[in-house]
Symmetry: D2
Subunit: 433 residues, 4 copies
């Protein structure tokens, strides 16, 4: 039998708190889960530093990846099966792309990507196409199968229907993470009727569409997403942890460039610092390694690196005030000067962080960050973009919301044992006294 | 105001998936949560290697410790408050003991304690009484307060009522972990009506008792516990991971004693190997450090250490067969000999693991592992031990259940490229062909 | 002790699927629950005919009334207690008004009120002020207490804070019914974080306000409400049952006026037909009585009454098509004429039903159906109307949505045994062939 | 196409709070649901008078019947499909039997059956085989199909596998009602992992068996059932309502036999009183009719009927004390005499009620109430009765538990305006002073 059609003698089942059970019958899926590159995702948290705000959010990307796979499996096996617009040949391609879509994520990707100019999508592709166990498994399907999977994940595949199942404004990725992140954080947002949405999904040549009767469930999903973004993903405390994490990486890189002699030599960081990390090195990176160094660096001599690492490990985070970039840059300059006078390096200790999201967007061809809109299948067979049918979605469509905050170490500012007058001026400017 | 009575200006609230919210008003509790020793519990999983069986079980002891605190807070503030048998002075003592009861747990404690002869209860005491941030906070209550808290956790306190809230057969510890572990694993066991149990708890001089009207809720709790033990905590796959973990530690220790030259020098393990670990070193231990070494040791030259670490990191676990210690020791000796012949060291690769539990036990004074039984408060004011009132509990009371399994690396045994005949004999003896 | 301050010797607890437990300690509340007028609410469904669409929606107004009470009790005892803006004297008033706010609802109120020109709010007041067990209990608090309770429910009370807890755009009534109706129907809408909303409610002199930090929970609540309206309350199948129910009542009334001789004399309806129902008679009305007559009338000679009752009892409902009142009145006239030709009385068998809702409204003083808007309490102490802070709410604020449907008996229209040509024309006009 | 194989052009879906959705694709099932006899189940509560104890328990037998159907559909379509031991021909038979298994239940069956010597199973059969809409639908499958369905429900069918799915110690009926009754009452018992149990069910020639790997889920199910019986079904307050209901029926029957002139003539009861009720009359009975009469009888002249009806309608129930039939019959005789002296008829006002259940029973061939035990399918293919494998089940197997209570009207006994000394004696004997 062709490897892609091979079934396990007995179905394997994972107990999953979100989908109850995750079912695996395909040999190729089972083999992919067993690869070292996929198992590595167990050591990378799905939500990075969010666990410092919501203590339940300790779940890994392994968790989420299985969830996305299960959603796509259900769409394929329970909803699309037998429909003329669905090519059964695409099934295994879709399942593999779903399972592997986050494979290239490193530890605390958000900060790492920013500081070291990395791109997890690049590494997902690299792992699929490179000299890896995942690649070996995929190659057993066919020589060009790894490339096909990589193309779907990169959204460059010609198979737009499959792409839309993995990456669109209502894809399996989002449907899993909203529910999963809500479950583990314990927030009451993130609930929507996924079962209903799955049941009304229909395959079309170039995308998945939603039967009009499911429109309200989709509205609810969009609202859930909106709430999760502002309540969880952009939570100001999480962003504080992220700010500190970024500054640790910055500082370590700066010190390395300044030929600083580390007590604990960051051998795993060298190639990152130098911008020449290999795939093999990249795969070794996980949160244990990062946290190992952060723990060690608490004993470094450099006071900034030491302080930042202590803050991160002991969750002694920065406080924040609202910041209006349109009006307050002058104030920021003043604060920066005062920080310097007070002996607190503003580069590390005075940070503006901005978060921004579009709750939903209709189609804007050619614009940056083009997003695949959601399409409804009307009763008469026509297809219409969601915001033209839903008043609620229309009301929020295309409206970007941005939030700016200014982060600083409240304990330093409050400590009047040194330079009390300058500290006083800082507190007055920050309006925190 | 006395530090123990100090309240936060605004209540702090943690979102918790199990109890919905965890409420903190007491300054001392807030300060304890902020200590580095308590924050360290974020880096130690509540269920050790269970996440390799139930992928959702990635939650930390930080999570659980807050939960136990919250249960005790609710008992104290919502149920016991104002009852004559409850001394409001004991409130803060109880809250602190609940929050800190697991403070001394190290990474993967079960295996570490076995291999290095450690005792997490010893370290809980040591952290509370030693030179730590936790100790500093507790001392602010009173000079003898750390000792009082340590005594409650050690069950040596004269205050038996408070002890029974933290450690008995129906304590806040168990009520939290059953629900929490069920939530994160996603299993459907572990549910019982805690709210009802809390409402019918009553303080008595030497213990907490349960009003008879809550007996059925308690029965349900005991059944939940029974199911969680056999379905989750003693799951044979988790025990396989535990076996491998234990063997990694053994091997590293043996190599160290044999003066083996590690590529990655296990500096954090030295004092463990030598049995002279300091409190300061102990506190540094967390899962990140352990996993860091396991990752590095995948590249060691010693084939056994390397293989075991690869197995653990990539979740390539041992398989198992049932094992009857009463009858099969001869078979084990034969297998051991065959393993040696096949070049597979039985000390590391052929392991019997036994799990054993009592679902509930009545009072057996003087016996080993004496357990505090559950007492019901009858309508007429009498107090009776649970199994005398509940037929269901009586039916299972004192009945120990034990399970033995024999673990081995199925891939080694299946590999017929070397010594196929011996492998064949092994498979025949294991009855796996 | 004053009756209003009297506590039960032991708290009474109702198991409630929505709030888990409903707690009663006040003697007056316990006594009110025991009155015959309150127990009558057990025989009136919360959602009228919705159970014919969502089979789980069989819960009663008794259910809901306890829920509203419990929410108000928690606001009062857990959130407002001890705040200077909250007068503890208002506690019992609020609890009683919450418990009794729906007391005057009759069976299938929506249709009954329309056909017989009744007003349940009038009857709530009448029961509270009239010669009833409820009145006797309330009078034990003080002679003017019944009037006070009635004024709160009627929104004429000067105590605007208490009124706003019972009747505003974010009152205990709505918070209970959204969750309760979602629970019993089983839909996945209707979830919002009530616990969070309760925790951030603050009393002000003339209304309850919400701390800004709870704004997202309120947004979620408004979206839940929107979805519940369109997914559940205005479900077209429920409206079909409602149309038939209304027509049964119409027909019975018409027949009575035509001196028709009923086989089963509708003695309980006489005073309704004549518009002179007494309080005593009104209180006797419950769903059992109505369904008794509908069952009996299935055997009446009048073919329309008989048919309509059979339809209702056996759930043989009308079908519907979309209807655009702006454009299609001519079509309706044509259809009406054709129905007559076909021997199907359009008065009973061709019905336009319109549903309309505002998801949220800001303050429009003086306009009809003036609604109390939701106010946020900003960090600086200012109070702002919700839609000025929330972009999502602003986007939908004041936007009325209306839906029109045309209902007809599909079986009659499909039956070509008589007048096939006319039926054909009807089907063509309805575009259902 | 054969009617039994006919599919709806589009699947019909019912939103269900317990199973989320109930799916109907078979024409015959859809047609059965639409019959007047099946719709009648909407007017009969699943748990009779339990709503007077647990206010959420207002759900109907319609609700439950759909649930049992859905469970059987999932077993058939998701688990058994394609297995050699499963005859696809049995599918429709099983679905119909599941849907219709409770069809003959009347209002408040427990009391009605006791007083009027009825048997709902007899009426289920009669409706299936008689001149009904249900019969017409079933006959369209084949002439002997109604008989086949009736035989399955009566357990006289030769098809023992199908019988065991509908009626055994782990059948679809029990699995639905435990979960459904837990959901609507809101109790935390009644949860077990049905999805797991369904997945491990296997068809065998003469019964359904459970794969050994699902044993713990079955243990949990048995414990759930045990708790539901004692916490919900046998709740002493529900039994009080049941006692009063039974006494109303007794009294009405007695009065009828004594030629009492009812103000509201109980025409619907005549045939019940005379023991000659026809199928047509039986089908008309629903709770609305019963409650109609109870409402009317509150105005009867007979003081006992009037009082009992007022008690039932206003939930003014009897209180109870424990009663030991082995020792206390003498006391009962004394009490009876005292009641008579006090002018309180003991026949109606002093009632012993006994409830009794076996949590699980192994096979006792030939004994009364023979129950089909649960069988496990071992890994080696052997089949073993559950209690031989499960220690927990063995511990409780065959242990009947019985509870006796003595009910009386506390208000009458407390009323010392008449015969205070006798009342005092009564209270002393009842030990309630």
């Amino acid at each position: 039998m062709a490897y892609s059609a091979e079934k396990l003698s007995e179905e394997k089942v994972f107990k999953d708190p979100v989908h109850r059970y995750i079912h695996v019958r395909d040999r190729v899926i089972w083999d992919l889960i067993g690869t070292k590159e996929f198992q590595r995702l167990r050591r990378i948290k799905q939500l990075g530093t969010t666990y410092l705000t919501f203590h339940g959010a300790e779940h890994s990307r392994f968790n989420h990846s299985l969830g996305v796979y299960e959603i796509v499996r259900r769409i394929s096996d329970d909803v699309f099966l037998g429909r003329p617009e669905w090519d059964e040949e695409d099934r295994i391609l879709t399942l593999c792309a779903a399972l592997l879509h986050d494979l290239g994520h490193g530890p605390f990707s958000h900060s790492f990507e920013k500081v070291f100019d990395l791109d997890h999508e690049h590494y997902t592709r690299a792992i699929i196409l490179g000299d890896t166990e995942v690649h070996q498994v995929l190659t057993r399907v066919s020589a060009d199968f790894p490339q096909k999977v990589a193309d779907v994940i990169a959204k460059t595949s010609k198979n737009k229907l499959v792409v839309s199942l993995i990456s669109s404004q209502i894809d399996a990725d989002r449907m899993d993470y909203l529910q999963r992140d809500a479950y583990f954080t314990g927030v009451s947002y993130g609930h929507f009727d996924m079962e209903r949405i799955l049941r009304v999904m229909r395959p079309r040549e170039d995308q998945v569409v939603i039967k009009q009767s499911g429109m309200h469930a989709v509205e609810d999903y969009i609202m859930s997403r909106y709430q999760m973004y502002w309540q969880v993903y952009f939570h100001p405390v999480t962003r504080s942890a992220e700010v500190i994490l970024t500054k640790i990486l910055h500082r370590a890189k700066d010190l390395h460039e300044q030929k600083y002699r580390f007590k604990y030599d960051p051998i795993h960081f060298y190639s990152l610092f130098n911008g020449e990390i290999t795939l093999e090195d990249y795969i070794k990176l996980d949160e244990a390694i990062i946290l190992y160094y952060f723990q060690m660096w608490q004993e470094e001599e450099d006071p900034i690196l030491k302080d930042l690492c202590c803050r991160f490990m002991d969750r002694n985070l920065y406080k924040y005030v609202e910041f209006d970039p349109a009006k307050e840059y002058k104030k920021l300059t003043e604060l920066s000067a005062l920080f310097k006078k007070a002996g607190i390096d503003p580069e590390y200790y005075l940070v503006v962080d901005s978060s921004s999201d579009l709750p939903y967007d209709f189609y804007r061809p050619g614009e940056e960050e083009e997003r695949l809109p959601i399409h409804l299948l009307l009763k008469n067979g026509d297809i219409r973009e969601l915001s033209r049918e839903s008043e609620i979605v229309d009301a929020i469509s295309g409206k970007r919301r941005t939030d700016h905050k200014l982060y600083y170490p409240a304990d330093f500012i409050a400590d009047d044992s040194k330079k009390p007058n300058i500290k006083k001026q800082i507190r007055t400017l920050l309006e925190i006294d």
